[in-house]
Point group: C2
């Protein structure tokens, strides 16, 4: 494995609007920073700007909540229109109590509010908006990767990350919701340990660790650092989809 | 926040035995790498070497499993002596099915096997050993920090990390089980977002993200990289214990 890593917040990414060219912003930011892409670099891009570029904003005033959304909104004490959007993005409700609505997103992600977010989504002086996850985050990552390859000639990886809460632990951590051009889960179960005993627990959530590392630089309130370059990762394992990080619901002990 | 991070695997850490001076190994490794410590550096140290230095190995042949351990061992299909040690380190069993034993460790950590590990713990040609978590990982981190301060004059942070599985997601990620000299959870709930709306979900599991980032360099099979220096973190928030990352059991939805 690697013996050193460098993480660089790509400077100068502007506020993103629907239709914006993220790869273009990233290349411009890297040029400003005087950084030339290299093969095996990984770019971690915050979900929020990918969603914005893809026009995943919904005007809440256009939403008529269903009876089910109204009822659930009373339990979780959230805007029924927001709950309606969450339900439309979800396969099932996992937990619903005061202030907390955990669902299985249609992509298979178990997460709060189906990733639907009101903060930083739009100007509060305009109508209220909510921002949904990208339609297909793996495809979004692949598109950004392809654009960057076209301009730089380099084979890089792209991770789209979001911040997830966890059972039992306080605070959110960055996780990978879309990936292209890198291994996502590393299975070391065949490798012997230092004494030749085979490793017991050694499937690594590799892309989630990359997402968490990048999240250290991204902050939350300041959207000026939504892209982080990670340099020094060297993994020859096959590339995977972010779906490789999802345990099949039937195999999970915490449904 | 920071705009760049550097992670360096500290070279030359030897196989650790009970009583070894970890801070000494770390200082020697840093000298080999030509790296001088700076204020605000954070050293992430793998739980396994801390446990070894503290003599947390148990010879399995000395353990007589209780009836409860025997019964549980049949369910989870593990060595009853190992299960006895796991129970002795735990407050309660959270889930027990074939191949999986999730407990609440006496420190409050919800984790597989109470962190008791057989891989890399000792020579397989000798008697079978198991390795337990440090008795008090915050105290272990504080001791390493103090030793490093005494020798370097620098105020650094120390994180002791371990690899945890997660509900719903495949693969382990690094988490912080012991901390000294750094903020552990960042509460940004008071900060406004870019449009002045106050942030909704903005308690960050900061030390867990540091632990995950370092884990990218540590690998699992190769114990030559159990210490990682993280440089570039700049957080003025108050220092905390790793206990700040534990949600009180009564407030959790996945008991």
């Amino acid at each position: 494995m690697t013996s050193g890593l460098q993480l660089i917040a790509v400077p100068g990414i502007p506020l993103v609007r629907a239709g914006d060219d993220l790869a273009g912003f990233i290349l411009q930011g890297l040029a400003t920073a005087g950084v030339a892409l290299k093969d095996d670099d990984v770019l971690v891009v915050a979900q929020k700007i990918v969603s914005k570029a893809e026009g995943r904003l919904v005007d809440l005033t256009t939403i008529s909540p269903s009876a089910r959304a109204e009822e659930l909104a009373r339990v979780v004490r959230k805007d029924p229109r927001l709950v309606e959007i969450v339900l439309s993005e979800s396969r099932r409700v996992v937990r619903a109590v005061k202030d907390v609505l955990i669902v299985e997103h249609r992509l298979g992600l178990v997460m709060a509010n189906a990733g639907v977010d009101q903060s930083n989504a739009a100007d509060p002086h305009g109508p209220p908006f909510a921002l949904m996850l990208p339609k297909d985050p793996d495809a979004s990552a692949a598109r950004i990767r392809e654009e960057l390859r076209r301009h730089s000639g380099c084979s890089i990886g792209v991770v789209i990350n979001d911040s997830f809460g966890r059972p039992w632990r306080v605070g959110t951590v960055g996780v990978a919701i879309g990936c292209a051009g890198l291994p996502v889960v590393l299975d070391l179960r065949g490798d012997p340990d230092l004494f030749g005993r085979s490793l017991q627990t050694s499937v690594l959530g590799y892309a989630d660790e990359i997402a968490a590392a990048a999240s250290l630089l991204m902050g939350q309130a300041d959207e000026a650092r939504p892209v982080v370059l990670v340099r020094g990762l060297k993994k020859d394992a096959p590339h995977q989809s972010a779906q490789a990080l999802l345990r099949p619901a039937g195999e999970d002990l915490f449904t």
